[in-house]
Structure formats: C-alpha cells, structure tokens
C-alpha cells in the first residue's frame, strides 16, 4: 500500500462505523443565506447600485467614463501605464504613455494598469478577475494603481450567482478593495503586495 491508500483506509476505518452520518443541507437552504446588503437579483439597477455602494465602502474608487478616469489618474500623478490591448482606450493613450505589453523586467516602472473585470458581485462590492480576461496576471497586481473595466450587465447579486460564470477558468480572483494589512498593531495599511489604489471603470 502507498501513502494514499494507507490514508484513505484509515479515514474509511474512522468513518465506516458511524451509526449515522450528518446529512448535507439542501443547496437552496445554503444559498438562501444572504446578508442585509444582498440586492434583489431580479432588479439590475438595484444590483448595480449595491455594487457601487459596497465597492466604495471597501475602499474601491468608481469612475463612470474614460475622461473621468484620465482626470483621476492625473490627480494621482500617474506616469507610464499598461492597458490590455483588447480595451480600446484611445483618449487615455493620448493622455499617458500606455504600453500594450506588460514587461516583467520593468514591473516597477508601471504606475498604473488597466485590465478587464470578468464580472462583479453586488452584495460584497467585489470585482472578478479571471485568467481568461487578464492577459498577464502580474499586470493586474503589481502596479500601485489598478483599474478594472467592468460592464454593468456582468454584475451578479451574490457570490453564489457569480460562481456558475467561473466556468473552467483555473484562476478566478475576487478582489474586494485595495490590498491591505493590519499585521502591525492592528493598524490598517492599504497597498501591501497588490495595488494601493483599486479603481473600477463602469461601462
């Protein structure tokens, strides 16, 4: 017997004699758990409004169009950036130096990056990044400012509703605000390893 078989046979020996096994709660019971911030899934406007509110609450910044984004980046003294070439952000390219390939060797020269959000969760104010929609994982993580471009129609009410949209993507990342820590004396600091400024451009 190898390690696998020995472990499984020990686990089986532990669970086989149980006179009764705990039942698995029905999925609809588990899925019915919603917090007070859970929006009505049938009301797209309510779902979007909840997302906007919760996203702001967790420290995310919202912008509604490209010109607003340009103004915001200027106010943050942004320099060179990267944008996913699939996003045709023409006026942005006029305002900043924008690469369409993320060069790992120059990772710290990008002050901002712009990538696509696959979706979002209203209830928790969360954007969803996937391998499929992010050409370069580092690009959405390493620069101080990250902008996720999110289509309003891809916002789901709850995480449970968003899970089926994950498909077979091997790396689904839910991002709920800027990277943070409270390891030193419980004091909240934003921008540890990931972005210190997390922006969502709603389109």
């Amino acid at each position: 017997m190898n390690a696998r078989d020995r472990i499984l046979s020990k686990v089986r020996a532990a669970t086989d004699p149980l006179p009764e096994k705990t039942a698995l709660p029905d999925l609809d019971v588990v899925a019915s758990i919603g917090s007070r911030t859970m929006p009505d899934a049938g009301d797209a406007n309510a779902v979007c409004a909840t997302f906007e509110e919760e996203w702001t609450k967790v420290g995310g910044i919202l912008v509604n169009d490209e010109s607003e984004l340009i103004e915001l980046l200027k106010s943050l003294d942004a320099g060179k950036g990267y944008a996913d070439p699939a996003l045709a952000l023409e006026s942005l390219k006029g305002a900043f130096e924008v690469d369409d390939i993320f060069d790992r060797e120059q990772v710290d020269t990008y002050s901002f990056s712009i990538t696509r959000a696959t979706g979002a969760v209203g209830e928790t104010g969360t954007i969803i990044l996937t391998d499929g929609d992010t050409p370069n994982r580092l690009s959405a993580l390493a620069p101080w400012i990250h902008v996720a471009v999110l289509s309003r129609e891809n916002i789901e009410a709850t995480l449970g509703a968003a899970i089926p949209t994950f498909g077979s993507d091997p790396s689904v990342v839910l991002v709920t605000g800027p990277s943070k820590t409270a390891d030193i004396e419980g004091i909240l600091i934003e921008g540890v390893h990931g972005p210190g400024v997390q922006i969502c451009l709603l389109v």
């Binding site: 390690a3 696998r4 020995r6 472990i7 499984l8 020990k10 686990v11 089986r12 532990a14 669970t15 096994k21 039942a23 698995l24 709660p25 588990v30 899925a31 758990i33 911030t37 967790v58 993320f102 790992r104 990772v107 710290d108 209830e123 928790t124 969360t126 391998d131 499929g132 050409p135 370069n136 994982r137 580092l138 993580l141 390493a142 709850t158 995480l159 899970i163 077979s168 091997p170 790396s171 689904v172 990342v173 839910l174 991002v175 709920t176 605000g177 800027p178 990277s179 820590t181 409270a182 390891d183 030193i184 004396e185 419980g186 004091i187 600091i189 921008g191 540890v192 390893h193 990931g194």
Partner: protein
C-alpha cells in the same frame, strides 16, 4: 505566590506587560469587530453557524468519498495530487518537486499546515531559499520567532520591534511608522516574488466537486506567489474538504467576519489547475499535497468535531486565557481554545507532552459561542482531560488538588459527618495556615474564604422528621 508548575501559567506569569497589553487589546478589538460584522449583516448569525457546522460535519463523516472525488476532480483539472501521511513525507514531496523543476527559491504564502510540518527550516536545510510573504509571517521568519496567532502572527509584537527587525535586516532605516514599514516590506518582497521559482500556499477550502482550492488573503501575497512563479504547490490538510462550490459563499461569509470583521477578504482566489494557455504569467504546474499528519486518528477519536475548524481565530480572540497568556504559552502551532484541543492530538512528541493544554480553560464556553462551525470546544476539552487521566499523563494532574481525601469522605458516612463538624473549626482557625498547600495558597491570594455555615442539614432533617413534617 504559590509555585506554579503548569507551563502555561509560568509563561503567563513571565509575560512582559507590553506584550500582554498588545495581545489583550488586539484580541478584544477583533472580538468586537466580529460581533458587529455578524449582527449588522445578518438577522440570525447563529443559523449560519449551525448550517456551516452541518456542512463541515457531513464532509468529515463522508471524508473518504469526498477525498476520492476531490482527487479525481483535481486530476481532471491538470493538478498533480500527492498524499503525505506525516510532515516529513509532505516536506520530502515539496523538495522532490523543487529538485525536478530545477528550482531553488520558493515564496510562501501564509499556511498553518506548513508551520505544522516545519517546511521552511526543512527547505533551508536542503539549500533552498524559502521566504514568507505575509507581512506578519515575514517578521516572524526574520526574527526566528513563531506565530502567536493563526490569523495575526505578530499580535505579540509592536511597531518598534518590527522597526528594529527591518533595520537589522537592511530593509531600510529605523522607523516606527506602520505605513513606512509596510512599504519597506513591499519593496523587499516584490523582488523575492519575481526571482522565485515556486509559489507555496495552503488552502482555506478544498472543493471536492470542482477540484478547486479556495484561498483568502488581504495582502495579495498568495495571488503574487501565483502570478510571478512557474510552479504552484498547495499543501492542505485532508480535513479541508467542502462538498460543493455553492457551499463556499456560506463559509466565506463566516470566515471573513469571524476572523477580521470583513464581509469578504480582499483577495479570494478559486484555483483549479495551472495557468491557462493564453496566460503570460503564472504556474505551468500545480501540485496539491493532501496531508494527514494525525488527522485520521482524530477522525477516529471522540474529538473529531475539532476537524470542522476553518482557522478563523475567533476562539482565541475571545478566550480569557489566551488574552492573558498570549499564543506562545501553548507551545505549539495552534494556540488558544482550538489549539488546546488540536495541539495535544497532533503533537509530534505525543499527547502527554501537551496534556496540560486542555486544562488551560475555565470552560466558560465563549469559544463555542463564537465558533463559525459551532465546535463544542468545552466538551472536547473535558474529553481530553479524561484522556489525560485515563492515560496517566502527569501533566494532566499538575496543580490539581488530589481528590482521594474527598473520595474517602464521600464513601464513608462517618468520615463525612466528622468532616462537616470540622467545617465549623475553619471559622476559628487562622486561614493563613491553609497556605501550606500551594493550591490553597494560590486560591487564597485573590479571594477570601467565606465563613462556613453548613453542616446543619442532617440534624435539621432529623428534627423535622420527628415533628412529622416530612410528607
């Protein structure tokens, strides 16, 4: 003060005031955050706890089936699945993967299970560079220290200590500013990620149905470990199974709120396999190591409920003993109430070595009240005290007054009667004489013995019966 013989008492007695205060304040603040988050967001958080408890217990009761289901699902996703009976086997698997990949550098995301196997010292011994990337764990590593809390590893340190450590390690000039200290760590660790060959993580949950691990961090270090490296190794305890992907939101709701008061941790990753073909960065290989290390024995024991634990740390934050002693007093990877149950059972040096931990509790029950999976920790502590007695573990009996005298009195009516008469004598004897017994002295150091007023019931009952009062 009486001589304290319990290791945990000694540790608490010798704790400096600064550390005690840091631990007490931080754990109190986290307990309040948890209560606020759960009761603001839900009408009845207890219903969530019961439901989560049921899902976890179901998974454990059917663990062999779910492990096989998970293994097949991971393999289908292109993940290489390994099994390790103990820490040594798990560490050897990691080393073997690294050697086959020609790797020499690993960045590690926070994982309690790798603390259990002492992975980092093992890899360093074999010439590998292993760097902890969670800010707190990084400080623990450079200080040669141990985490004192499973969620906030340096709860026992203050900003000045961190500042001195960073200065010593050459991260920058001394500062006490937590913001500047965090920036220093960001700059230093960024290069470590980019240079590393392997990203090592644990997992908060393992979803049997989909073959994905779910991993949460606030700092983004697990995400970075899986963005900058070419190999991902996840080491997970066999008990981490969640049956269905739709069960995950319930657990995330409880985990974030119970641990830090957040509805959802900042980075929540669902990882099922190596990077996709079009992806420019990230692991080409993903390995999952299922580690037993004593868990199957616990599953067969009368303490199996402890395996439901999702490692939120709420029980230590609320525990009056943890708040006074800090985590190191538990002399093991898992401190606090969960540790008092889990650590003696997982202990490499055997149960008797940590048999005192189940006694480090007043059985107040606060740990069970806050537990997101409703583990009956006080009951489990009692079962382990019994185990200690049955197995004659010496540490179970330290500082416990012997019960043989009481047992004698309780089985001999004449001795009992004499004892009750003697009770009145206590009212005239100076109480300081009691101090010959160390336990009595320790008890008396903070309390006054009340006057003895008992011993009259028997004579009262006799007189009452004579009067025909008994019906």
């Amino acid at each position: 003060m009486a001589k304290l013989e319990q290791a945990i008492d000694n540790h608490a007695a010798n704790l400096d005031e600064e550390t005690r205060e840091a631990v007490r304040l931080a754990s109190k603040a986290k307990t309040e955050k948890r209560v606020n988050a759960l009761w603001t967001d839900f009408d009845d958080p207890n219903a969530l706890r019961k439901l989560a408890s049921q899902v976890r217990q179901h998974a454990l009761d059917n663990l062999p089936d779910y492990l096989e289901q998970a293994e097949a699902a991971f393999q289908k996703n292109g993940v290489q699945v390994h099994w390790a009976e103990d820490g040594d086997q798990a560490n050897a698997i990691v080393l073997d993967i690294m050697r086959r990949r020609g790797a020499s550098k690993v960045v590690k995301s926070k994982s309690m299970v790798s603390e259990e196997t002492e992975l980092v010292p093992f890899l360093e011994k074999h010439g590998m560079e292993a760097v902890e990337t969670d800010l707190g764990e990084y400080v623990v590593q450079i200080d040669g220290d141990h985490p004192s809390h499973i969620v906030t590893p340096i709860i026992h340190k203050n900003r000045r200590q961190v500042g001195r450590s960073f200065e010593r390690e050459g991260l920058g000039e001394y500062t006490e500013d937590p913001l500047e200290l965090t920036r220093m760590a960001r700059r230093h660790l960024r290069q470590k990620y980019l240079d590393a060959d392997v990203g090592m993580t644990g997992a908060n949950f393992v979803v049997a149905e989909s073959g994905r691990i779910v991993l949460v961090t606030n700092e983004g270090n697990a995400r970075f470990s899986m963005a900058a490296t070419k190999t991902h190794i996840a080491m997970v305890g066999i008990e981490k199974i969640i049956p269905r992907e739709q069960d995950v939101p319930l657990f995330l709701s409880l985990l974030g709120r119970s641990a830090t008061g957040q509805p959802l941790t900042v980075y929540t990753q669902f990882i099922g396999g190596p990077k996709s073909a079009s992806q420019e960065e990230g692991p080409e290989e993903m390995h999952l190591i299922f580690l037993d290390n004593g868990r199957s024995d616990i599953l067969a024991s009368n303490c199996k409920e402890i395996l439901r634990c999702i490692r939120c740390g709420a029980c230590m934050n609320v525990c009056p003993v943890y708040r006074q002693t800090s985590g190191h007093a538990y002399r093991s990877v898992y401190p606090g109430p969960v540790g008092a149950v889990l650590s003696p059972l997982l202990n490499k040096a055997g149960f008797p070595d940590l048999a005192d931990l189940p006694k480090a509790s007043s059985l107040c029950g606060a740990c069970q009240e806050v537990c997101p999976v409703d583990i009956p920790i006080p009951d489990l502590l009692l079962r382990l005290r019994n185990k200690g007695k049955q197995e004659h573990a010496p540490k179970t009996s330290i500082n416990t007054p012997g019960l043989s005298f009481w047992a004698l009195a309780a089985t001999q009516p004449a001795a009992w009667k004499t004892g009750l008469k003697l009770g009145h004598a206590m009212n005239v004897v100076p109480h300081a004489l009691l101090d010959v017994n160390p336990s009595a002295k320790s008890w008396r150091s903070t309390r006054e013995l009340p006057p003895f007023r008992g011993g009259d019931f028997r004579s009262w009952l006799k007189a009452h019966e004579k009067k025909g009062g008994a019906s």
